[in-house]
Amino acid sequence: MSAVSTPQIELKGLRKTFGRVIAVDAVDLEIGDGEFFAMLGPSGSGKTTVLRMIAGFERPTSGSVILGGVDETEVPAFRRDVSTVFQDYALFPHMTVGQNVAYGLKVRGVGGAERTRRVGEALEMVRLGDLAARKPGELSGGQRQRVALARALVTRPRVLLLDEPLGALDLKLREQMQLELKAIQREVGITFLFVTHDQDEALTLCDRLAVFNAGRIEQVGPPSEVYEYPATRFVAGFVGSSNVIPAASAQAVVGRPGTFAIRPEKIRVLAAGATPSAGELGLTGTVDEVVYSGATTRIVVDAAGLQLSATVLNDEAPDDVAAASALRRGDPIAVAWHESALRPLEV
């Protein structure tokens, strides 16, 4: 992971408590210019609170928020050069789409022709040029989402904050919007900071991500790094799925002490009695469950007192795939993986 050269957002020892509840605890983070950054975590992990502190809606209990090199911890929301796309979009119901988008320019005193032009451009960018006269109540969920995006971007902020922006959309629309978001981010080139609980979305969209758990950051890095080298047991389980080899079994299975994770797709399924290749570790066991899901098949194996899940890509001839799927519970089987596929975890 590369050091961030010109951080747009810098969080130092950020902490936020609500009464006795610690929502955010000692968060340090740097996000660079033009990055598409995701904050990933389950609900209640503090990621939205961090976002709201960056936007200026919440005051940190301690720590500082540095935006573009300036400490803006005490600066009110309306003076910060960041824009937010809200989870519920927060469109002004009494204004038309055009007025909603123009609002930020209007309060900044951008007048007449320029305002009209920039509103038009922003609406074109989200492909809503012909709906400017509608009221938000007359739009579909996806359209509202785009209006919120246009409204947030039209003021050309240095940072765009997105709070679960796709959460309210159905799956198909969500996938489409993900691509659009990515395209728009490339087009405007500013920092996007994105809060989500959906790991697929985070992996698909962002350049880097931070995984939150219980108010703390567990790991920061590019998607491939976080996925391939999960630093903690929580990350290993939350980002993708992992087989965890606990300390008690480590000596027997891995041959050295520690806790390890291994991705299901890194486990090779062998016929019973076959031996692992050089550099591979192997185990024998029995089939517990076989789940066929089109492109892949998941085979759960009982071995050495563990349940290991292996994902097999169905890239063979159909007959062979059918044969593999014909495995029964209790059939003897062997599994193998490359030594390097094992990830030691900090617990």
């Binding site: 936007a55 200026g56 809606f57 009110p76 929301a77 309306f78 003076r79 960041v82 824009s83 937010t84 809200f86 989870q87 519920d88 927060a90 469109l91 002004f92 119901p93 009494h94 609002y103 930020g104 309060v107 900044r108 409204r151 947030a152 003021t155």
Partner: protein, 280 residues
């Protein structure tokens, strides 16, 4: 019994609707029609009894007599002032209650705002009489600049009396505005004042309108507060009361009562024009 009605939905509906319809038509519309009719009657100058007739003398008097015009304008001024004061005072109160106060404090404030409604009107009006008296509390606090009894005291007292009728709808109005809209406005660069003007005010305007209908019509019809704290001032309802009870001139009283009736109808129409009544 219930089985009987269950199989005869029309009978059930009829029984359900008859009492309110009777009330509406007979007691409510009927009394207004009667009122309008008596405005055309005359009074027997000797016995003082109202006698049916059809003449416009009463209505002409109401329109042309400078007394009625002056008092009607004064009453309008009072009703509008009370409404504006209540709106201005209730706005921050309701905002605080709905958007800032903790849920426990919110319940406390709601109770605090509505509790005066349980107290007697007269007790509250007389309390203000004491406040406004010479060398009374207001005199002391303002360093001897209390306005004393008169029109300002009347406006203040009425504004106090009807304030809950403005706070409650406004509170409900603020409650319906999502907090994220206020954050979105700030996020887009709007100062608090700008957010209030461009986002909050338009969104709670229907609630203000709903509350103002109460404060306006209650003030326009009030004649008790002004006799207690109004000094020598009289309002339209005092004239109506005087004509009805003192002069026993029911027809002129009826003609005079058309003025507040019209004022309230016009006010409702004005509110409807602004679109404020659509969401109420």
């Amino acid at each position: 019994m219930s089985a009987y009605f269950a199989t005869r939905p029309r009978t059930r509906l009829g029984l359900l609707l008859t009492p309110p319809l009777l009330w509406l038509v007979v007691a409510y519309l009927g009394s207004i029609v009667l009122l309008l009719l008596t405005a055309f009657w005359t009074v027997n100058g000797f016995t003082g009894r109202a006698e049916p007739a059809f003449q416009f003398g009463n209505l002409v008097a109401v329109v042309t007599d400078p007394l009625y015009r002056d008092v009607a304008l004064r009453t309008l001024l009072v009703a509008l002032s009370v409404t504006v004061i209540d709106a201005v005072v209730a706005f921050p109160m309701a905002f605080y209650m709905a958007k800032i106060a903790s849920p426990r404090n919110r319940a406390f404030f709601l109770v605090a705002v509505t509790t005066p409604l349980w107290a007697s009107y007269l007790a509250k009006a007389y309390a203000w009489r004491v406040l406004f008296e010479p060398n009374g509390p207001i005199d002391i606090v303002t360093g001897g600049h209390s306005p004393g009894y008169g029109l300002p005291a009347t406006v203040v007292t009425l504004a106090y009396l009807w304030l809950p009728y403005m706070v409650i709808p406004l509170y409900a109005g603020f409650d319906r505005v999502p907090a994220s809209l206020l954050e979105a406005s700030a996020d887009l660069g709007a100062s608090t004042g700008r957010t209030v003007r461009s986002v909050v005010l338009p969104l709670v305007f229907p609630a203000i309108a709903a509350g103002s209908i109460f404060t306006f019509s209650l003030s326009f019809g009030d004649y008790i507060a002004v006799t207690i704290v109004g000094g020598k001032t009289q309002l339209l309802a005092n004239l109506i009361y005087g004509q009805l009870v003192t002069a026993n001139n029911q027809p002129l009283a009826a003609a005079l009562s058309i003025v507040p009736l019209l004022a309230v109808i016009l006010y409702l129409l004005a509110m409807r024009r602004t679109g404020a009544l659509e969401n109420v």
